[in-house]
Chain length 445, copies 2
């Protein structure tokens, strides 16, 4: 088997915590990290191995984007600065109604995959229609993905309703069982858009197959009163009654938590997926990250779709998360740089029940890695590399990316993806969408 020694200037393995190591070698064999050891020892133990010097770089675990709608990257900047209901009802849903289909999902997912890899993200946790198409796009691109099997009570181009969603979803899950890059999870859209019966079935399937459940929960204020009106109880109480409040739940957004909710969450094992930029942009509220951390809740990060972000820059998202947590709490000590980095990596792996194989640079784990060049102006000088990663670096400093030991990006260049084709297809969709809506075409480039 081909053995490669990565020789970065600095290594931040994330586990063990708080370490910044010099003069180390990370040994890749096949899809795994075979060893993490001092360089001199590595040279003795692996005399014939290929060596890759990374003299101005820091090596890290790849980032994990815990909430995406990757196909929606085609709607980046399509409608902004609007009230959530106007944005959805008058802009996003009508365009989806017209254009949603396998080709839209494929081209959007490929654009998202390229953008994410370019920024050091090695895995994404997606929630969208035609999940089999997104799975295929990820597998073909060499990117790791956790594919949500969507469940929603309205008919879409993909399925007629909750029942068909579940049937189709389980077939997708079975179909991708043997692809090492792909895992699947249940993905009921939101408490307000999935009924009790379907959610009870989701809870059963989750327990039976040990599958995580990826769901928007308490994204906006409206949901709180809606749950009382529709179901006679608050959202989290309903989810608990349905058997969903456990360590398999990936509760995305959670901007509307009161003191009781925080108590109720404590000890359940529920994971909170924080999407600060999308929450801010839609004016939906602010997730109380510092208080969740106090209550021992596992926190990871997502960009959300590019239609409400408007990029998939997870490193920048960690910066926003750390800054916003401090500003919201009025306390600069909460969510320090290392904790923000944990949200990008090991906490995300843990939320998916995959912390044994992902989320840190340790022997035996999958070789999902990224390297950043740290000799840029904005990261000069450097007293603390972890501070710089979160507070100063640009994701454009990402130079190398590996997924399962396979190098996908080298010196900022893609080795396998055809970027000009991906960009060309995306522009073509934009032209069609703009034409359909009578938008002026001046800005397509």
């Amino acid at each position: 088997m081909d053995t490669v020694l990565l020789l970065p200037r600095l290594l931040v393995p994330v586990r063990p915590r708080l370490q910044v190591l010099e003069q180390m070698a990370v040994v890749i064999e096949g899809e795994l990290i075979a060893a993490v050891l001092p360089r001199t020892e590595a040279f003795e133990l692996y005399p014939g191995a290929r060596r890759l010097e990374l003299p101005e770089h820091v090596l890290l675990p790849g980032f994990i984007n815990m909430h995406t709608h990757s196909a929606m990257t085609l709607l980046r900047g399509y409608a902004d600065d609007l009230n959530l209901q106007v944005w959805l009802n008058e802009h996003i849903w009508p365009v989806e109604k017209t254009f949603l289909g396998p080709e839209f999902v494929r081209d959007g997912a490929l654009l998202a995959i390229a953008e994410m890899l370019r920024g050091g993200t090695t895995m994404f946790n997606d929630l969208y229609f035609f999940p089999e198409i997104t799975a295929k796009a990820a597998a073909q691109s060499g990117m790791r993905a956790c594919i949500g099997l969507p469940v929603i009570d309205v008919p879409t181009a993909w399925a007629a309703g909750e029942k068909e969603c579940l049937e189709k979803g389980l077939a997708v899950s079975a179909g991708w069982r043997d692809e090492p890059l792909i895992t699947t999870v249940l993905a009921p859209h939101a408490p307000y858009s999935v009924g009790d019966e379907a959610l009870r079935r989701v809870a059963e399937l989750s327990a039976e197959h040990d599958l995580p459940v990826h769901m928007h929960v308490l994204e906006s204020k409206w949901e709180t009163s809606e749950s009382i009106q529709q179901y006679g109880k608050p959202t989290l109480e309903r989810l608990a009654d349905l058997g969903l409040m456990n360590e398999r739940l990936l509760a995305v957004h959670m901007t509307q938590l009161n003191g009781e909710d925080l108590e109720a969450l404590s000890g359940t094992g529920v994971n909170v997926i924080h999407c600060p930029e999308s929450n801010l942009k839609l004016g939906n509220g602010i997730c109380p990250v510092a208080r969740l951390a106090e209550h021992g809740v596992n926190l990871a990060l997502g960009t959300d779709g590019a239609a409400s972000n408007n990029n998939l820059d997870l490193l920048a998202e960690s910066r926003t998360a750390a800054l916003l947590a401090k500003g919201y709490a009025g306390d600069p000590c909460v969510v320090d740089a290392f904790q923000a980095l944990e949200m990008l990596t090991i906490n995300a792996a843990r939320s998916l029940g995959q912390s044994e194989r992902l989320g840190s640079v340790e022997a035996g784990k999958l070789a999902d890695l990224c390297a950043l060049r740290m000799d840029a102006l904005q990261t000069t000088p450097m007293f603390d590399v972890v501070s710089h990663l979160v507070y100063a670096a640009s994701s454009q400093q990402v130079s190398h990316v590996w997924v399962g030991g396979r190098m996908l990006l080298r010196d900022g260049q893609f080795l396998h993806l055809d970027i000009s084709d991906i960009i060309g297809r995306a522009r073509n969709w934009a032209q069609r969408i703009a034409a359909e809506n009578g938008m002026k075409g001046v800005q397509m480039l």
Copy 2:
């Protein structure tokens, strides 16, 4: 005189408002924009002019960073995630006490200048000691700067106290009168660190010479009670009594405004300089930008120093400003993308009383411009270039920068600055600072 036609794919002149123009030429003659006109007309009128095609680019006014401590870029990431008083008393001030001097200021300012130019910033409004050194660094680099003449009631390496500050400051102002790139403004540090007598003198000089006054105002909660305790009245009332609450005041931060303050500000002409990332990072509070805008207050943006940001990325700051305003107000419609762009450009020029010569791409104004390549993954596809500039682009997409008609950056490469020398000097300072403080040297690169 050399005439150059810039031929961008798209032009966002900022004035007139909300325009996105195609097929235009921007004519540069000497330091000025001679004309903005359709390309075909330009080719007829200026047949012999040099032409610069920018086929994938958008051309904009250069960004203006309205609050920097440029020399402090050398302390980027030196201390983070700390309470403001601990951060200042135990980290920042001690290191300044040991190292502050003309060479520290020069090397720090040069690093800041390079980073800002790289990101499309063509002018900065600085507040730091040894202002003559910062002025020189800017002028030598070809960057426009507004140099604050600092006034503070404690002795520093630069001056013994308020009186000497003012004397030295006025001499600096006189010395730089004939350099077109440099303007000077009065810069009393903060209401709590400058006494009544000195502030009264600042107000007189400001009125007499029509000089703006650059000051930290209501940065943190502590200041509110401090003012009552020390002066028997709230900060803004005291500043009004001293004759400072007028259109020449650049009030930086303003995170602690109550309803009365907002009424009091309305109609004074006071400019608010918003530094959202630094305010968040230090947990100091959130400036109520949407409400200030409602009250007709002119708003511009600053990064603050790199010690509390930790970069000088003004485009990213505009994104944070727009997102935070929406999240804080719970309203996605406030501070739209174009308004954020105005804060970076024309509002900043207006705050300095320089909107006749800066802040938009219009004939007769100074040719301070930047161009960004928009064919990156994160700005694909494109329905709305202004949305992309604020919500999706990376400042690393800035390709060209001109200050006063002189091209300083071309295709992302500096034409005049010696970047490796600037980086080398900054690393050298970091080594010395780390050695003095017994920090491990592993992370200097």
